[in-house]
Symmetry: C2
């Protein structure tokens, strides 16, 4: 688990916290909502439980930590109201790595309980979802949003991925294969662990970053802007080239076909629904433009900074661990500029997510 | 719940943390161990579960957070080994107030899981145990050590308890009654909540501070040293007398008879075992003496400081909230001196605990 140690998001009291910089994550959640609702409805209709145990994997610590749980409870609430059924009890398990800021999550528990006004019991579970986390056959519904694109470790054999921090058009073929292979191992393991923890007929909805094209060498990756920013710092003499050459992200954005293949081979789950969708970053533009009617203000730069802060909240621990704390401010200022520059090329801004809804056989 | 907000212990990264200053708590736990073991053994023999859900209420954040859970698991492990049974799975719920330092608890989870090497799933549950915390009929074993002496709020009608911060020999009769009445309400509520959460035949072991004498006006209370220290600061002009007069602890140390009466009236539980025992502070003395062979060193003063730090780790939030942060260092330095002075009067050092083992009817 050593490699996962740098994956924790910045804590809630950090200047650039994940809690305050997860705009894009929110956008994804709003796309995933109807699929979660459908999945919860189907589970409740088929299983009719009087007690529902729900797990959210990779809950993080921002306002999003309770968002999906709210959707689950609201969905069941509406069904019970419509059919005049008694509300079940909910046991909710919020999971993230031990480095997550659970103190901040727990401080919101009393307000959340008051808001939902249901018999709802919240617990935090610290640990990697690439290990067993919950008792056997105990879960009715599992969600994981925006987390499964993180691998357990860097794939072996990325030495020749120079000039990049992740797969890129210019990456050698073996780099694509090494990344794909690591996802196969990690995602298969994830499915097999969850299949032990879930009750048959239980549902699971997973959403994470993906790519549009089956051919990984035919995609524009948003991480290329991070690579570009790092090499800018090399040109300025702030960072050594060999350090950037040896830096790669333990991340993978699969295409639809890869996800289907892994689920089918692992055999514990049936796919109900699977969609790849473009992450909408335009709402960012609209919001910012509305707020900044003064034409003299550099809207693009503010958007660049917003984007850089979102990325920083996720990458900062990894960057610090590899390059040292001193380069961080400079790197993300540079990233903000590069994003602002890139805004006239919307291609570079495309990001895709996959959402898959599964039933435990 | 406003009143319980100041009850959180000092966080693990606080200079005087509960984690590093809970020597007396450890002493109590060692006394309670055989009763926990007996209770767990009886539960396992009667219920024979393949899956055991355990809750520890008021777990705090020090090394003690996992201590009782270890005892529970070790006890079952020994029984299974002896009888060649398969080990059950454990689901462990560690509870404390939302202000507790759960981040520090969770950082120890991976080490704990590795040590016990059993299928053991740990979760943190933030909330007051004077509210519902767990699903209906879900718990096999419940423990609470060193927490139930804290009341939900200060009893009404303590205005004439001047010169004291808790019940004392000099307290008026109505003060004893007000305190006893608040415990009756709080402890009855606690039992009734847990009875909903526990499976019939489930066991619960509760240990908390108690008093030796049925007559509350016939006891030496260790908190009198805190009152004395506060009035010393009044004499020095650092603290206002009216502020000390209006300060009382939301705490109650019942006698054996009161506990029996409340349990019997509430009717959900049967008492298996109930003991009042003196808290052994002599091991503190022995330890310190061994470490300080240089006769020139003021052993008593170091013991006074240890004791003051233990009390500080618990009381600091309450003291700060009532008197302001500025007096804290001075107060606990004074308490250390007063404890050192009192060491020649062992009477003042007597503290009692009660442990009661219950079966859910």
């Amino acid at each position: 688990m050593a490699e996962t140690k740098v994956l924790g998001m910045n804590a809630a009291d950090h200047e650039i916290s994940y809690a305050n910089n997860s705009v894009i994550q929110k956008g994804v959640i709003s796309k995933v909502t109807p699929i979660i609702e459908e999945s919860v409805r189907d589970m409740f209709m088929e299983m009719g439980p009087t007690y529902i145990k729900v797990a959210d994997l990779g809950c993080a610590s921002g306002p999003n930590a309770f968002r999906i749980i709210s959707q689950v409870i609201d969905t069941i609430h509406r069904m019970c109201k419509g059919q005049q059924l008694e509300l079940p009890e909910f046991e909710v398990l919020l999971n993230d790595l031990p480095e997550n800021d659970f103190n901040s999550v727990f401080k919101s528990v009393p307000d959340f309980i008051e808001r939902v006004q249901e018999k709802c019991f919240i617990a935090g579970v610290a640990g990697s979802f690439y290990h067993r986390l919950f008792p056997t056959r105990s879960l009715h519904f599992v969600n994981s949003s925006n987390s499964l694109h993180w691998l357990t470790k860097l794939p072996a054999g990325l030495e020749n991925n120079k000039g990049n921090v992740y797969m890129a058009r210019s990456s050698p073929r073996n780099v694509f294969e090494a990344y794909a292979d690591q996802l196969r191992k990690d995602f298969t393991n994830f499915l097999s662990l969850r299949s032990k923890e879930m009750i048959p007929q239980g549902r699971m909805v997973l959403a994470f970053m993906a790519r549009e094209n089956a051919d990984p060498s035919n995609e524009d990756y948003v991480w290329e802007l991070v690579a570009k920013s790092l090499y800018d710092l090399v040109a300025e003499g702030v960072v050594e080239e060999k350090d950037v050459d040896s830096f790669n992200l333990p991340f993978y954005s699969p295409c639809k076909e890869e996800v289907v293949e892994i689920v089918e081979r692992e055999r514990s789950f049936e796919i109900n629904n699977l969609q790849v969708f473009e992450v909408d970053v335009n709402h960012l533009k609209a919001d910012e433009k509305l707020r900044n009617k003064d034409l003299g203000y550099n809207v693009y730069m503010e958007m660049g900074e917003n984007f850089a802060n979102t990325v920083r909240a996720v990458l900062e621990p990894m960057i610090c661990s590899h390059f040292g704390d001193a380069v961080v401010d400079r790197l993300f200022m540079r990233l903000a500029t590069n994003v602002a520059d890139a805004l006239s090329h919307p291609m570079l801004y495309k990001g895709f997510n996959i959402v898959v809804s599964l039933t435990k056989k």
